[in-house]
């Protein structure tokens, strides 16, 4: 979060309680998920979440390389979060920066909770997350799509991981910050849970929350997660339905 001198001048919630993009405090941006969008990858998914456009490919389980990275009792999850040079306002130099390395780490750890890694010793499951356009909340969007891509790749999981974020703007706790809100708001809390068990698998926070605000933020995100979880399922269903109807078509030919 960049601190600006004129921070207080920017009003993020209007008199009617609506946000700069017309949303209510507990409203998500539009989310659209597509499954199986790439040919070469073992699994893939594409997500649009507000202005975020994120593509995810999964390869594996495959023999981990180099060999010394192999774990004899389980698969390693190797998520790689990467922003395209053109995804942000000022061109980003290609290659991982420190921020991307940290995000890749926390995403890998979150997915490891969900995947039955012990079924695939000595392998790696590589999850490539490419941010094609960024608009605040990319890690959460990427993680949400990554779960879907893992299912598409046939990787056995406890359940899908769902990401969501809440934050604070103009002193009020709201769901799912957009870019302007992230820049000029007071707090951000990216989080990911496994809905079936209510486990928190990713949690980061920066800014300023009182104990009470923090509880509100977590509650907002948890409710939204249920909704997003359904979107994930529908996207997967849509793919299998279209495959079914293709097969039907083949049979009726």
């Amino acid at each position: 979060m960049i601190e600006l001198g004129a921070q207080s001048d920017i009003k993020l919630i209007n008199e009617e309680g609506l946000r700069n993009d017309g949303r209510k405090f507990n409203e998500l941006r539009p989310i659209r998920i597509e499954v199986g969008v790439l040919n070469r990858a073992d699994g893939s998914a594409y997500i649009e979440w507000g202005g975020n456009k994120v593509l995810v490919a999964v390869y594996g389980p495959r023999e981990a390389f180099p060999k010394h990275t192999q774990n004899p009792s389980r698969a390693i999850i190797n998520a790689r979060y990467n922003m395209a040079a053109f995804s942000v306002d000022e061109r980003k130099r290609p290659g991982p920066d420190r921020r991307a390395i940290e995000i890749s780490k926390v995403i890998s750890e979150a997915l490891e909770v969900a995947v039955f890694t012990e079924q695939f010793p000595r392998t790696s499951i590589d999850v490539y997350i490419e941010v094609l356009q960024a608009d605040a909340g990319t890690r959460i969007a990427g993680l949400t799509a990554a779960s879907v891509a893992l299912v598409d790749a046939g990787i056995p999981m406890k359940d899908m991981v769902v990401g969501c974020a809440a934050g604070k703007i103009d002193g009020k706790v709201v769901l799912d910050l957009n870019k302007e809100e992230d820049n000029f708001g007071q707090a951000d809390l990216p989080m990911a849970i496994i809905p079936r068990t209510d486990e928190i698998v990713l949690l980061q926070m920066d800014g300023n929350f009182s104990r009470e605000e923090l509880e509100q933020a977590v509650e907002l995100s948890k409710k939204a997660a249920t909704y997003i979880s359904n979107l994930q399922r529908e996207a997967l269903m849509a793919k299998y339905k279209s495959q079914e109807s293709e097969k039907e078509g083949e049979r009726s030919e």
Partner: protein, 264 residues
Amino acid sequence: MSAVSKSADEIVYGLRREYLEKISAEGNRIDGRKFDETRQAVVNINFVPRAEGSAEVRLGDTRVLVGVKVEQGEPFQDTPNSGILTTNAEMLPMASPTFESGPPSEDAIELARVVDRGIRESKMIALDKLVIKEAEKVWVVFIDMHILDYDGNLIDACSLGAVAALLNAKVPASKIGAEDYPLPINHVPITITFAKIGSIMVADPNLEEEEVASARLSVATNENGDVVAMQKGLSGSITQQELFSAVDTSIKLGKDIRKRVLGR
């Protein structure tokens, strides 16, 4: 070396190569195309509105995303009256099990340089119109090409994507108190790449064809039918006749793509 020590992979590869050479000698391609026929090209411009220009290209099952950023920078000392063009290709590990993370491979460097050469040498962009203040400040045009899905012929997919993105790019002059204006364009180069399979040159090779090809030739032409850039690749040779036949086909296909795909 005796066949005994060959790995299973090599044997399969050898058989595949033999098969493709055989059918091409008979006048056929693996996916039914004619030798001088490209795959369908779908161009989706402005895919990344946040960039100054962008285009997603699908060439058969190959898919690339090209973004153009236009930012202020200092001119090179020896060209104080010229904007700057810089081109970069990312062969993302997402796109193929054979692509690796890390700094650009020599393949990625060659790809970026060949695409760059087609654009630069055709004088596509009017770099002289990108000067903000002589010798002090110019517009820098960054072309970043992300390979998303790899099914062969990245050179043509990326070249087409870069050209389409540039044709629709704007100079963000509003950042310096003027009005945004379209990136000034002089020419529209199109690159066509050929793979030599056995003794046949096929246009726009897909991955299967690329893998068994002995040589590769890329020819970029402009709307006047001039050749503006070429690059031979791979560890095989071509004949003078193959070269000129490829040049002729490239001129022909270039005109077609310029009109049909780019509407120029």
